[in-house]
Point group: C2
Chain length 227, copies 2
């Protein structure tokens, strides 16, 4: 078994989306301030205090993010966040400002010779560069037609290597509004999609923390490749 | 495939260990304060701000929690947090104030007729009551000999239904100090262990968030039972 980590590292000061404040990881307990309470060989313990948006880093959106009175994070169906997955690579067909379309996803399926099955998780590689580099937050994301493709193919979850599945200037957030009610869950800020097989299925996991009344959760997203 | 959720729900105000401040989940964006920027049918978006210790709720300890200059959360070996697992039930042999011993774990293996294999993840059910009820934080946890049992059996990760694998008044934190350097990772505050099979292996997952320089991570801990 091999695990491929598809997760952006969360560090103190990271801004993983322009609208949210930077992530904070600061000391809570340290060896210096806790050691006096313990007995050798224990020198005390370290812990950190975390402050972040529920949409920080690599995260999974709950329907409540955009749809009133819908499923929050703790209520999400875990069988839709774990299971058989494929990675579709649209980089041969997309320039930075282009949006991912229905047609591009069809072309990727054909080029890779892979069959997308009902209840698959589909990861979309949209770019060849590094996460967060200049222009990253301005790239074209999914056109509404790409949302239709996800619905037509009855996928249960979609992940991508951008910070937003909707292009930022689409103020109707058409892809979120189309697929979250199904629900098709959305994972944003994936990395390392170039390391995934393009010609076969693998197991994918991105289980949300069990956060009551939250609208998303940071996740550890991984591909599990069985030998 | 069936997923059994072994995770304590995290809610605003929860204290999952006496030493840490209560968890905070508070509004960040709301439909009311963001809606004006969006176009129908989008009514704006909801997000939450999270504030918590890295040891909150059901969490996995990194070696850095107790061992200076050792592995932090982002450096943890994910192949030790996911894989074949067994649940050992010591409740027939343990009263609330008793500590779990080497002998109790041997008795549970024999009573359940299950073989613990090298690199298994081992979950220990120590009690029959509800998480957090009166007396929960005062229960006897692992004796140092139970740590020896984990090392002798070459397990890669251990989980339990208490908030601390060491009994609180053991100020040398002997079990943490014994097993974290191996490393055998420690998952605390599991729930629903009564729902697990006792006579066979299953797949377990408790992947940490990728938190740089952190000493633990809240996790979504689950058992995956294949049909």
């Amino acid at each position: 078994m091999k695990i491929i980590d598809l997760t952006l590292e969360i560090y103190d000061g990271l801004k993983s989306y322009l609208s949210h404040p930077p992530i904070v990881i600061r000391p809570e307990s340290t060896f210096e301030n806790s050691g006096h309470r313990y007995v050798e060989p224990c020198e005390g313990f370290e812990s950190r205090f975390l402050e972040m948006s529920d949409h920080s880093g690599t995260h999974i959106d709950a329907p409540l993010h955009f749809i009133r009175n819908s499923q929050s994070t703790a209520e999400m169906d875990l069988t839709r966040c774990y299971g058989e997955a494929v990675c579709l690579d649209v980089t041969p067909f997309k320039q930075a400002k282009d949006e991912v379309t229905y047609d591009m996803l069809e072309k990727a399926v054909a080029a890779q010779g892979i069959e997308v099955q009902q209840n698959d998780i589909v990861l979309i590689r949209t770019r060849t560069g590094q996460w967060g580099e200049e222009g990253f937050f301005e790239e074209g994301a999914f056109a509404p037609s790409a949302g239709d493709w996800l619905i037509d193919n009855q996928v249960k979850c979609v992940g991508l290597d951008l910070a937003n599945i909707d292009t930022h200037d689409n103020m109707a957030r058409e892809v979120h509004m189309k697929i979250l009610p199904v629900p098709i869950y959305i994972i944003e800020n994936l990395v390392n999609l170039d390391q995934l097989p393009k010609d076969k299925h693998f197991t994918f996991s991105a289980l949300p923390l069990k956060l009551k009344n939250a609208t998303a959760s940071p996740v550890r997203a991984v591909a599990i490749i069985n030998d």
